[in-house]
């Protein structure tokens, strides 16, 4: 496995943009909408923001052996793993309320 620390950093960077977008949606919509955005299209927003603000850093990951597609797949996959319990807990809370 190539450097996992660098991969986690990429995930955190993309997720911060994702969180920001989800937070804005929460402000204007609802927390549930914010959670939904975070777990779905927020990853795409995060990747676009990374491309816009930190494009040069891709060469850091290229030198570590990761292509842009592999990085996107990693972030998307990890986000699905994180999103499923978030969405399940949200659905459970909604059902209880």
């Amino acid at each position: 496995m190539k450097n996992i620390g660098a991969l986690l950093k990429y995930y955190v960077d993309v997720s911060l943009y994702n969180l920001g977008a989800s937070f804005i949606v929460s402000l204007y919509g609802s927390i549930l909408w914010g959670l939904f955005i975070y777990c779905t299209i927020g990853v795409g927003i995060g990747l676009l923001c990374f491309q816009y603000f930190k494009k040069k850093e891709y060469y850091f990951y290229y030198n570590l052996g990761w292509t842009r597609w592999q990085l996107a797949a990693w972030v998307g996959g990890l986000n699905i793993i994180i999103a499923i319990p978030i969405l399940l807990i949200s659905a459970l809370l909604l059902w209880l309320i």
Binding site: G5, A6, K9, K54, K56, E57, N63, L64, G65, T67
Partner: protein, 223 residues
């Protein structure tokens, strides 16, 4: 010993022809200097070899296998130092080193390299150009790639770091094959084994400053 042999590479941007069926070769233990006027295609050539720009045509061999630019990154066959800073700007130097190099042994080689202790608590974005270029080169030096592509490593850096980077490149030479492009030809020529000039859509071999002048490159520099 690793060998990279490009038998034919062509690249055009619309009507502009950068190079047509040009060839080059390099092996570990060699430094190849690449010169050319702005817009002649030096950076494009490096990006083609690294696989981030697609050539119109490229035929080559890397370690007895067909050279496939699409596999260069994933197989870590070639490392690339771009002109711009590629390190995370908000990370401290001591955070970036373990992000880039996995083993403690390799990390120590960078941590204990000259002048790193002085900057290890600074953020990458706060470093001078020379400090940053030196750090980037050190990280690439201990990465596994047998070949390195260096795009203007001497550009805009202070003299102290020029000397340090020159010493580092000579130290690296036995382990890596290095393709080095820069306009600072007097910093490059003492390091290189062979040199080429990108001109007339070809890679013209040059022996030294006289050839650069004869082929019109230095005239452009003096303007």
């Amino acid at each position: 010993m690793a060998h990279l042999k490009i038998e034919a590479v062509s690249k055009t941007f619309g009507a502009k022809r950068l190079f047509i069926d040009a060839s080059l070769r390099i092996k570990t233990g060699e430094i190849l200097g690449v010169f050319g006027r702005n817009g002649s295609g030096k950076s494009t050539l490096l990006q083609i070899l690294f696989g981030t720009v697609r050539a119109d045509r490229i035929v080559g061999v890397l370690n007895a296998e067909v050279f496939d630019p699409r596999k260069v990154i994933t197989r870590q066959q070639i490392g690339y130092l771009p002109q711009f800073s590629f390190l995370p700007q908000f990370q401290k130097v001591r955070q970036v080193i373990p992000l880039f190099l996995e083993t403690g042994e390799l990390q120590d080689k960078v941590f204990y390299a000259p002048r790193i202790a002085k900057i290890e608590n600074q953020r990458v974005g706060q470093l001078s150009i020379g400090e940053r270029r030196y750090l980037e080169l050190l990280l690439l030096a201990y990465a596994p790639h047998p070949f390195l592509l260096l795009d203007e490593p001497f550009s805009m850096i202070e003299p102290l770091y020029k000397d340090i980077i020159q010493a580092l490149l000579l130290d690296l030479k036995p382990r890596k094959g290095i393709i080095l492009t820069d306009h600072y030809f007097r910093d490059v020529l003492p390091l290189t084994d062979r040199n080429i000039l990108l001109k007339h859509e070809s890679f013209l071999p040059i022996l030294g400053e006289e050839d650069l002048a004869r082929l019109g490159y230095l005239v452009m520099i003096k303007k």
